[in-house]
């Protein structure tokens, strides 16, 4: 019997499960999930260490590096444990397991595997122990996780081997040249003089989150090679002004999350997040303040391998950043729950409609989307309650109405899929309960109207672009036959419909303004030139259904792909 088999299994109290299933989660529930993540990570690390041992390497052998890491852990359990639990460490462990299994690619295996030596150097520096290890250098630099990037100025490019010695928190790195540095991270927004970049040291910057209970440091990770979802990345160092902009945006987003009366500050309800629970923010796509950031988040991502981390392209709007913090943390919570329990039996065939995607999704993706967007709906519900004026209420009301509607649709698909486990059914039933309650809450009628229209437009265009017209009433509408020629398409309407147009000009603007007749005429004009263009045709179908509601309209919206274009209006 293996030692872990002698341990009792995790038992999640029903009340904590219910909190998470409702779309939220108290600090206690999140701590439970994080405790399970630690257990999972220890098991994966043990499994990986077994595979690293036999690998040939010009670096310090894995067993020796692991010994140095353990010595540091014995001297300073807390800091070294935090290093183990850092999202990028989880990313590396998972990536390495995939590499040795043949399901991931990367640099030469010894360099990927040699990150264990870098972790051991970091651990030794954090603990103040002495160690000497041969580490992988990329272009003369080595990332020291949770601390920063040490560089040998003028070193040759490519992969080489360096010698790292640590003592009393000081690092000496030797390659073609040598440097001595005292590696420390650099907190942003503290007002104190911070550690500056030098030719030999780039400190890991941390976002500062202040609370009555104290300050929290959240890595703004632009350095660790394992900060993405899988394959290692080179550093993408933010210029100082962009890092400062991140701190400012983060503080403003935290202010949004707290709400006007501070009720969102503990992050426990659906649609809320405690910023102190975020384990790292990975800036994406820009390293400079210019050109100005777009208002919305262009890219965000997260991975179950890296609990609490979120990859985000910085937006200009703190509202958009706050929404993304909620969205991505929902993914982290669900991924942790999936590590505890199989929630569904997924054949991973991508066949389902997800209202926030251009492409068909598999069931796991559908569940992730439903969980994330239930959180997003809750976020906008809070903003609606906080709205300082009618315009803000229109926008928040729109997003709340749209996301509760779309999430409920997906929850229905999940509940009728017959693929949920008992835990999965309990989770999705909890989501349904939350959403059903929200669907009864009042929202400005014009915002509800635009949300319904936007939801219908997306689904209609998705079917026109993805679904083969099959006039078979027996085939399930949730699992349609998919077009072999389907391709990605931009969703330009979901955000555009958030605001109520005051002086509509285009067909979409007329539709958003509640003038379907004016919209229909313009769609018809456009279809005269290209009768099958899916974006315009979707608009025509939705406008037509608004003007002539009834059975025919419902059938048309249910299976728009069956329609022939009717460009005459």
């Amino acid at each position: 019997m293996s030692s872990e088999q002698r341990h009792t299994p995790f038992r999640m109290p029903g009340r904590l499960f219910a909190e998470v299933a409702a779309g939220g989660g108290s600090a206690e529930a999140v701590a439970f999930l994080e405790r399970a993540e630690r257990a999972r990570r220890l098991l994966l690390l043990r499994t990986l260490l077994d595979r690293l041992g036999p690998l040939p390497t010009p670096l310090t052998p894995a067993a020796e590096a692991w010994g140095a890491l353990k010595a540091a852990a014995a001297a300073a359990p807390g800091p070294v444990d935090r290093l183990l639990l850092a999202p990028a460490t989880g990313g590396w462990i998972a990536h390495m397991l995939r590499r040795v299994h043949g399901t991931a690619t990367g640099p030469p295996l010894w360099a990927d595997a040699g990150h264990l030596c870098s972790l051991a150097v970091s651990a030794s520096l954090l603990a103040g122990t002495e160690a000497e290890l041969r580490v992988p250098l990329t272009d003369g630099a080595v990332c020291l996780p949770s601390l920063g990037l040490a560089r040998l100025p003028g070193a040759e490019r490519g992969l080489t081997v360096g010698r790292a010695s640590t003592a009393r928190g000081e690092l000496r790195l030797v390659g073609e040249v040598s440097v001595t540095v005292r590696p420390v991270a650099a907190p942003l927004g503290t007002g104190a003089s911070t550690v500056q970049d030098t030719p030999s040291w780039l400190p890991l910057r941390t976002l500062t989150h202040r609370t009555p209970a104290g300050s929290f440091a959240i890595p703004l990770d632009d350095l660790d090679p394992y900060r993405d979802l899988d394959d290692p990345l080179p550093p993408a160092r933010l210029e100082e002004a962009e890092a400062v902009a991140w701190q400012r945006s983060f503080e403003e987003a935290v202010g949004v999350l707290a709400g006007r009366d501070g009720r969102g500050a503990d992050g426990s309800g659906p649609g809320r997040v405690d910023p102190a629970a975020i384990r790292s923010v990975v800036p994406w796509g820009r390293t400079t303040v210019l050109p100005p950031a777009p208002p919305t988040v262009q890219v965000s991502a997260s991975s179950g391998d890296s609990f609490g981390a979120m990859v985000i392209a910085r937006p200009a709007s703190p509202l958009a950043l706050a929404e993304t913090l909620v969205h991505e943390f929902q993914h982290s919570k669900l991924a942790a729950l999936l590590h505890l329990f199989p929630l569904l039996d997924d054949d991973r065939v991508e066949r389902y409609y997800a209202p926030w995607r251009a492409d068909p999704r598999h069931l796991s993706g559908l569940l992730h989307g439903a969980y994330a967007f239930t959180g997003v709906a809750g976020f906008w519900r809070d903003r609606l309650a906080d709205a300082p004026d009618g315009r803000a209420a229109e926008e928040a009301g729109y997003h709340f109405a749209l996301r509760r509607l779309q999430s409920r649709l997906v929850v229905r698909t999940l509940l009728t899929s017959e693929r949920l486990t008992p835990q999965g059914r309990a989770l999705v039933t909890g989501l349904a309960r939350t959403l059903d309650g929200w669907l009864r809450e009042p929202v400005p009628p014009s915002a509800v109207g635009r949300a319904r229209t936007a939801a219908a437009l997306h689904r209609t265009e998705w079917r026109l672009r993805n679904v083969v017209p099959v006039a078979d009433p027996a085939s399930a509408p949730d699992t349609p036959r998919l077009r072999p020629d389907r391709a990605s398409w931009p969703d330009v309407r979901t955000h555009a419909f958030a605001a109520r147009p005051t002086t509509p000009r285009t067909a979409d603007e007329h539709l958003a303004a509640g003038r379907p007749a004016a919209a229909l005429a313009r769609y018809a004009d456009a279809l005269a030139a290209d009768p099958t263009e899916p974006h315009t045709l979707a608009g025509w179908i939705v406008a037509h259904a608004a003007l002539e509601p009834g059975r025919t309209a419902r059938r048309m919206l249910a299976r728009p792909e069956l329609l022939q274009p009717l460009p005459s209006g």
């Binding site: 999640m12 991502a301 991975s303 926030w356």
Partner: protein
């Protein structure tokens, strides 16, 4: 009604110190936790539509 407790297939070793990892056995290849990790996935650079992604 809220179920009293949900039992996981994950061993509760969260209290184990890092130094005790050697005492664990490697996960068998068919373990649910491990098979999920070993599934290939894409990095954010892998393309697809702009917007939110989760792996």
């Amino acid at each position: 009604m809220v179920t009293h407790v949900w039992e996981s297939d994950l061993a509760d070793i969260a209290a184990l110190p890092l130094t005790a990892v050697d005492g664990l056995s490697p996960l068998p290849p068919a373990t649910r936790v491990l098979t999920e990790v070993l599934r290939a996935r894409g990095g954010i650079r892998g393309g697809g539509e702009p917007g939110a992604r989760a792996e």
